[in-house]
Each structure stands twice: as structure tokens, then as C-alpha cells.
Subunit: 178 residues, 4 copies
């Protein structure tokens, strides 16, 4: 029965394809740091990387990444039917399947990530600018998906930061006066 692709294979391929397409986990961590540093004091690259790996371990995220990167690669190799070929190759402005897949990633950590996703996607922060430059190949899906992984990792950090604050016995908050 073929309904048993081992999860380990799916995860491993996800990491392989990200690397193959020029995206390192550090690139994604840069976006997460940019999004969260004003809200989480002492946020480190290591904490961002830990959160990104937790996001990348979700099957829903792996499915979206494998599918989107596959479509980017097929478009680069001119293997898609016309006009889907031209649409993806050109990153057509009326084509929104890339955003649809990205939102499925963001949703996993809840709706508070929508705003961050839209924001980094619009301003093309860091690696997103490189991916968006057509001289570097077809990355119609990947630029959005990377922004979505960063937004999801940011949401996860926000939820954990709250929990950490609540777990601290003598919590120092803005309402604590002398």
C-alpha cells in the first residue's frame, strides 16, 4: 500500500530542497529576528532557528514547501502546460496559488501571523528580495513560502514568550512599580 511514505523522508526532502534552492535556515532566521526583535527582548538567532525547525517539522508545512518548490523547478525547466508555464514563470500578479499555500503554513500557528506574512512579503525583506529577482531563477512559490515559514516561526515565538513570562515566579511587567 502506497499510503505510507515515511515522515522522515518527507522531512528530509524538505530540508534538501530548501538548501538546493538557495535558502538557508539562517536566511529565514534573519527575517524572524527582524519581525520579532522589538517585541521579544534578548531574542537570539538560536531561538529563531529552534522555532523555524519546529515549523519545518510540521507535515502541513512540508507538504506546502515540497509542492511549491516542485512547481518552481518545473517552471524553470519549462515542463508545465501553457499558460500555467508562463503564469508561474512570470510570477503573474493575478496568480495567487502561492499565497494560498503560504497561508496554509501561517495558519498552523494561528491568525496572529497573517499580518507579519503580508508585511515581509510586501517589503521583500532579506533573502526574499533575492528570491524575487528573476535573474536568480523561478521562485514564484518559494519567496512566499519562506515568508510564511518566518511568519509562522514568529507567531510561535510570540506564544512561547508569553508562556515564559507567565511561568516566571516573580514576573516583572510594566505594571510593576517600585
Amino acid at each position: 500500500m502506497t499510503d505510507h511514505v515515511h515522515s522522515g523522508l518527507v522531512r528530509q526532502k524538505t530540508y534538501e530542497l530548501l538548501a538546493l534552492r538557495g535558502v538557508s535556515l539562517e536566511d529565514i532566521a534573519d527575517i524572524v529576528l527582524f519581525l520579532q526583535k522589538d517585541y521579544v527582548p534578548d531574542l537570539s538567532t538560536d531561538i529563531c532557528l529552534e522555532s523555524i525547525e519546529a515549523v519545518l517539522n510540521k507535515r502541513e508545512v512540508q507538504n506546502a514547501l515540497l509542492t511549491g518548490i516542485q512547481l518552481d523547478m518545473l517552471a524553470e525547466q519549462h515542463q508545465l502546460l501553457s499558460p500555467l508555464q508562463e503564469i508561474i514563470e512570470a510570477d503573474e500578479s493575478l496568480y495567487g496559488v502561492d499565497e494560498v499555500l503560504s497561508l496554509a503554513i501561517v495558519n498552523i500557528y494561528g491568525s496572529i501571523g497573517f499580518t507579519n506574512f503580508g508585511y515581509v512579503d510586501k517589503i521583500k525583506y532579506g533573502i526574499l528580495a533575492e528570491l524575487n529577482d528573476k535573474r536568480n531563477g523561478v521562485h514564484t512559490f518559494l519567496d512566499d513560502l519562506v515568508g510564511a515559514v518566518a511568519a509562522a516561526a514568529s507567531s510561535r515565538i510570540a506564544h512561547r514568550h508569553r508562556r515564559d513570562m507567565e511561568d516566571t515566579p516573580r514576573q516583572v511587567t510594566e505594571s510593576d512599580g517600585p
Copy 2:
């Protein structure tokens, strides 16, 4: 500049691919009739077909159909990278990108269509049973997408039915007494 694939081409290819993959507009109309006949008296196949065509004329719907059918076809031709190839070929139960694309179709006519989408997808009504039978090829995306088009067309009919009732000068409703 390639960001100008003509809308007419995108629409035409959508209709072509549906036909090529064995789905007629009448097949979809059967699902719409099944979903709406209890709520809209005198609902005809023609009204269903008119609504289905309105749904199919939306660019968001065309994008989802072209992308999903393309992935089905590539999986049938063993052209995808492993393990995505095996996942789509087997219609893996943990793969939800087909549902994600379908929801993008349903959303266009609003959230009242979610329930109908889930329902026909689960009971595999009409053509959906044939598409779901692996002896008939790989239709991992298409069975969900067809259910989504039917659900969207049903929502559209529900909205129009209400408008028609409101436009009738002397409307007879249950609250009309002697």
C-alpha cells in the same frame, strides 16, 4: 513583458483540462442539484450550469484548477520528485494541499460553502466517486477541486435565491398570515 497572459487563454485551458480529465459541466451540475434542491424550489440543471460557469470564470478558480490538474497529470506521468510523486499518486491521507486549493475556490462565494464542500468530499457524491477510484488515473487534486466548484456554485445560488425572493413584489413567506 510576460506578466500578460491573456485571461481568455487561462479560461479556455481550464475548460479544456476539465474535459480532458473526464469532468463535464453536467457532472458538476448533478452535485449542485443534490446540494441545493431541498432549499431552492424549481432548481433546474440550467440554473446550476449557469452558476458553475460563473464560478469557472473567476481567475482564482482557474488558477487553482490549472495548478491542481497539472500536478495530477505530472503524477500520472511519474514526473514529480520523490516523495511528492508517491504522496500525490497515493492520495496520501496526510497531504492536504488539495484541500487548501479547494478552499480557495469555496472562499470566493463566502464561508457558507465550507459545509457543502466537506460534505460532498466525504460522501464522494456522483462523479467524485469515479475520480476517487484509483483505477481511473490520478485525481488527487481534481476530486476535491470539482467538489469545491460545486460548493461555490451552490453558495452563489443560495445568495441569488435570496435576492430573487426579496425582489418579488408580493412575497409569500411563512410569516405571511391571513
Copy 3:
């Protein structure tokens, strides 16, 4: 600073309101069992309850439940502005905000839950039939939200069942012959 409602309070109120509105965790477990028993052999009520509690511990789920139940209660007390009052009181067929909140719950465990959500919502399984009966008060939001919690718990069980199977050293699958 008021941006610090303690998570414990939010969780506790969620459980309180479910009980107050007549929904027990066992009622939800019945739906999960119905949805998953054909796919997960030896599925017990205890496993369903454990999964439901994991779903209810998510902040996104708590937010949706608190908001939806609050709107149900306000409609019951005739405290909403017209025509929102009449719309929610009547569970208007063109009102889909209840489905929108429900989908936010389902999304947390990924898109494979959409179908189950739509299905139980349509057939009004178990407690959902009681909630849908207007003689039992206004439950426009709650019936959808309970179906969504059940669908999310089902997705979580499906993901864990796969992991358990993969972790078993000598795995017996359908492809294993003598």
C-alpha cells in the same frame, strides 16, 4: 498594562463556558470516535478526550470559542444591535461568521480536517443535533465550533496514529505478506 490576561484564565473560562452551554468533553469525544474509528483501530474514548484537551489548550481555539459563545449568549439575551440580533438568533443561512471562526480552529491541525468539519456540520451528528434545535437556546456559533474542535482533534489523532505506526520497530502494514 492590560495586554497580559493570564493564559490560565482564558483556558479556564473556555472550559467553563462549554459546560455552561451544555457541551461535555464526552459529547465531543463521541463525534471524534465517529469520525476516526474506521481509520484508527482500537481508538478509545480516552484517546479522543486526550486529543480534545490538546486542541482546547490552544489559544487560537480558546479565542474562537469565547467569542462565539459570547455572541450566542448575547443573542439569547437580546443584547445585540438589529439586524445582527435577528441574524444570529435565527442562524441565518447567509451568515457565515460561525463557519469562519470554526475554520480557524480546524486550520491549527492542518487542511486534512476541512472535510470532517463540513461532514459533521452537515449531518449534525450527536450533540450537534441538539445544539441545532432552536428550542434549546441560541447556539448559532457553538454547533459549528464544537464540530470544528472534533474535526481538529480527529486530524491530530490521524497525525499521531501515523507517527505511532512509523515508530513501531516491526511494522505490520497491508504490504507485509507472509
Copy 4:
């Protein structure tokens, strides 16, 4: 039977509540102009207003606005149960129901609007900054919903702009050379 609130009433109340809460259609048009002026030459405030009205005429949009503004008003009047009262009053960063309702609006015109929604929500453009200032009352829902209406109207303009370009008999595009 109460399942027949007239659409005219729902639409009228939507416009009334927007005005009551200090949002004019011109305020929304400013956001649309900001989002689209670089992509649609000769975009006027009148075209933006026409598109905003088309968005506001959608039942899904009206439902989201009525529900969100109602919750803002109830929070302002301290009429919600604790801790939902404190959560909405404070615009709690982990509360995402406002984003969920907003996305239901954006979805109506397709996924190409996600990015614009996140962007204006993040930078708090124009009226959104005023709504976000807690000295002006509780607008936890309204600021997101107004951003969503603007993003949806922008998507609609993008789709129409393409259509207009395609309908022009002798279309001048960048690929037209001598």
C-alpha cells in the same frame, strides 16, 4: 420565520456603523490609492470609491463588519464576559479573531489581497493609525476590518485593470516594439 432579514437592512446598517465609528469611505479610498497607485496609472479616488462600495455590497463583508463592530462597541461598554472583555479592550496580541474575520473579507476577491492586507495592517496607514490609538475608543476589530476592505477593493481594481487592458483593441504593452 426569522430567516429572512432583508438584505437592504443588513447593507444599510453596515454603512451606518462605519460612519458611527468614524470611518468614511474616503478614509478607505486613501488606503486603496496608496496600495494601487503604483500599479494602475490614472487611478482616481472615484474608482477607489466605486470598488469599495462593490466590496461593501457583499453579504460576507457586511456580516464580518457588523459582527466585529458590535464586539468593539460591547467592549467599549464593558458588556463582555471576563476575560474576553479585557482581551478585546486591550487588543491582546495573542487574540486573532479580528484577523480571522478580516481574512474572510479579503478572500472574496482572492488570495492576491493577503499581502496588501498584512502590509497596511502592519504599517497602520492613514485612518488605521487613528483607529489603533486607544484614546479613540476600542477598535480592535475595526482597524483590521477596514484594512481588509481596502485590500479587497485593491484586488478588485487589479482584476478590473487587467480586464480593461485586455479589452483595449490596440493595446500598448512593454512588449510592443517598433
